[in-house]
C-alpha cells in the first residue's frame, strides 16, 4: 500500500503547529496504525529528521495511551483504540489526516502527544474508595445482582483515553467522569463516599475547563470501550441528588 499522511507537527506547547505531508510507500495492510507510524519514524530518523511524537504503550487496546484523531475521528474509522486499528481499514493511495486531541484541557505537548493529566486530577479527587481492607472477606458475602455487577463492569471498562473529549464538539469529559462515577455508584462498596465523590469529581471536571454535555452522543459513538451515555444520565442523577441532600462537604477543584 502507498499512502499520504498529513500529520500535525508542533515543537512544544507554546509554539505554533502546522500540518506536514509525508509520502509513505512501504505500508502493509496487516500493519497496525502505530506500526505504520513506527516505519515512517524509522525512515525519518534515517534521513536525520525529527520523528513524529505520539503516545502509545500496551498496544493491546487496554491502556488508553494512544490518542490520534484520524480522518476526523478519534482512534480512526473503527470503534477501537488506534493500536487496534489496522491499515486494511484504509484504501491504497488514500490521504490520511492525523491530528492530536483538541481541547483546552488537553494541551498539545508535542506533535500528536497531548497532556491528559486533567483526567488524573479528576480521578484523584474521588475516583476511588477508601476502606480498611482488614481480613479477606468470604466470597459473595456482599450480594450484588449480576446485572448490576455487569453494568458496573461495563462502566469500569473505561480506559481514560480521552476519545470522548476529542469527539465532543464541546470538549466535554462527561462520558469519562460518568463512567468513573458509575462504577462505584452501582456497587455497595462505593456507597459510603457516593455523594462526596460525584460532587468533587464534577467540580474538578469544571475546574479543568472541560465543556458541558449537549447530549449529541458523539462520545458514545467514538468510545473504543463502548461506554454508554446512560452513565451520563446516572451521573446527573447522582450529582443532583448529592447537591440537594449531602452534608456540606468542601467541594471545588484542587490545584
Amino acid at each position: 500500500m502507498k499512502i499520504t499522511l498529513k500529520v500535525w507537527r508542533q515543537k512544544s506547547k507554546d509554539t505554533k503547529g502546522e500540518f506536514k505531508t509525508y509520502q509513505h510507500d512501504h505500508v502493509s495492510s496487516d500493519m497496525s496504525f502505530l506500526e505504520m507510524m513506527d516505519v515512517l519514524n524509522t525512515e525519518l530518523i534515517k534521513k536525520g529528521e525529527d520523528p513524529i511524537h505520539f503516545d502509545h504503550d500496551c498496544r493491546e487496546g487496554i491502556c488508553g495511551m494512544c490518542s490520534m484523531y484520524i480522518n476526523g475521528q478519534p482512534h480512526g474509522p473503527l470503534q477501537t483504540t488506534t493500536c487496534q486499528l489496522h491499515m486494511r481499514s484504509f484504501k491504497d493511495g488514500e490521504t490520511i489526516t492525523v491530528e492530536p486531541w483538541r481541547a483546552q484541557a488537553f494541551p498539545v505537548i508535542r506533535d500528536l502527544v497531548v497532556d491528559r493529566t486533567a483526567f488524573d486530577r479528576i480521578q484523584q479527587v474521588g475516583g476511588y474508595i477508601s476502606v480498611n481492607t482488614g481480613g479477606v472477606p468470604d466470597a459473595n458475602s456482599i450480594p450484588i445482582a449480576k446485572k448490576i455487577a455487569d453494568e458496573a463492569f461495563d462502566a469500569a471498562a473505561c480506559i481514560g483515553c480521552g476519545a470522548c473529549v476529542a469527539a465532543c464538539k464541546n470538549a466535554s469529559a462527561m462520558l469519562f467522569v460518568s463512567a468513573k462515577v458509575s462504577q462505584f455508584a452501582l456497587l455497595p462498596q462505593g456507597h459510603a463516599e457516593r455523594k462526596e465523590r460525584v460532587e468533587k469529581m464534577v467540580n474538578q471536571m469544571d475546574a479543568e475547563g472541560f465543556g458541558s454535555c449537549t447530549n449529541t452522543s458523539a462520545c458514545e459513538a467514538e468510545c473504543p470501550k463502548g461506554i454508554s451515555v446512560a452513565n451520563i444520565a446516572r451521573m446527573n442523577r447522582e450529582y443532583f441528588s448529592a447537591m440537594i441532600s449531602s452534608y456540606e462537604v468542601k467541594v471545588g477543584g484542587g490545584e
Binding site: 483538541r102 464534577v202 454535555c213 449537549t214 447530549n215 451515555v229 451520563i232 446527573n236 443532583f240 447537591m243
Partner: protein, 225 residues
C-alpha cells in the same frame, strides 16, 4: 446558600436549568397549539377570540405567562453562557477534518434556538403586542365585547411571505424539539431501558406533529381550505 450557587453555576446545574425550562416551554407549546387549532373552526373566529380574551385577561394565566417569558429568557441566557463555555473548552485550534458521529440537530441547537428566538420576537410584535397595546377592533358575541384577534391573524396569514416565514420557523422548532425533548430527559437523568422507548417515541412524535399542526393553520388559512 453557597452550595446552591455552586449547584447552579456548575455545568450540570446549568444543564438542569436548560432541561427544566425546555420542558416547561414544551408544555407551553402544547397549550398554545390547542388554542391555535380553534382557528381552523369555520365560525368567523368566535371560538378563538373567546379563548384569546380569556388567556389575556385571566389573572392565573397572566401569572403563568410572566413565568413563561422569564423561562424563555432563562433558557436563551443559560444556553448562551454554556455555548461560550463550550467554545472555550474546545479551544482555538479546531480540527482540520471533522467527523459527524451525531445527528445534525443535536450539533446545531444554538443556531436553531436563535432562529426560534428571532421568530418569537416577530411573533410577539405582530400578535401579542397588538392584543395588549394595539387598537384591535372589537366584535360582540351575546352582548359581550371581545377583541377580534382572529381577524388580525387572518390579515397576516393572507400574506404568502409571512406564511412561508412561519412555516420555516416551525421547521426550526421541529428540529430543535427533535433533539431537545429527548435531551431534556437525559439531562434530568431519566434514562431507563424500560422507559427510553416511550420517551423517544413521544419526543420524536411531538417534534413532528406539533410544528406540523402549527404550520398547517396558516397554510389552511392562506389556501382557504
Amino acid at each position: 446558600m453557597k452550595w446552591l450557587i455552586e449547584f447552579f453555576t456548575s455545568t450540570l446545574g446549568r444543564k438542569l436549568l436548560m432541561a427544566l425550562t425546555g420542558l416547561f416551554l414544551i408544555l407551553f407549546l402544547a397549550v398554545h397549539l390547542a388554542g391555535n387549532l380553534q382557528l381552523l373552526k369555520h365560525d368567523e373566529g368566535r371560538a378563538f377570540n373567546v379563548y384569546a380574551e380569556f388567556m389575556s385577561t385571566n389573572p392565573v394565566i397572566q401569572l403563568i405567562s410572566k413565568g413563561n417569558f422569564f423561562f424563555i429568557l432563562l433558557h436563551a441566557g443559560v444556553s448562551l453562557g454554556l455555548t461560550i463555555h463550550n467554545r472555550k473548552a474546545r479551544g482555538l485550534q479546531g480540527y482540520a477534518v471533522s467527523g459527524k458521529s451525531s445527528i445534525w440537530s443535536s450539533r446545531n441547537m444554538g443556531i436553531l434556538g436563535t432562529v426560534i428566538l428571532v421568530f418569537i420576537v416577530i411573533h410577539l410584535k405582530d400578535f401579542w403586542a397588538q392584543m395588549h397595546w394595539g387598537g384591535i377592533p372589537t366584535v360582540s358575541y351575546d352582548g359581550k365585547e371581545y377583541r377580534d384577534l382572529s381577524a388580525l391573524v387572518a390579515v397576516w396569514f393572507d400574506k404568502g411571505w409571512y406564511v412561508a416565514l412561519y412555516c420555516f420557523c416551525m421547521t426550526a422548532i421541529g428540529f430543535h424539539l427533535w433533539h431537545g425533548f429527548i435531551s431534556a430527559f437525559q439531562t434530568l437523568g431519566l434514562n431507563h431501558p424500560k422507559y427510553n422507548p416511550l420517551i423517544h417515541f413521544v419526543g420524536k412524535a411531538f417534534a413532528i406533529v406539533v410544528p406540523a399542526l402549527f404550520a398547517w393553520i396558516p397554510l389552511a388559512m392562506y389556501f382557504k381550505i
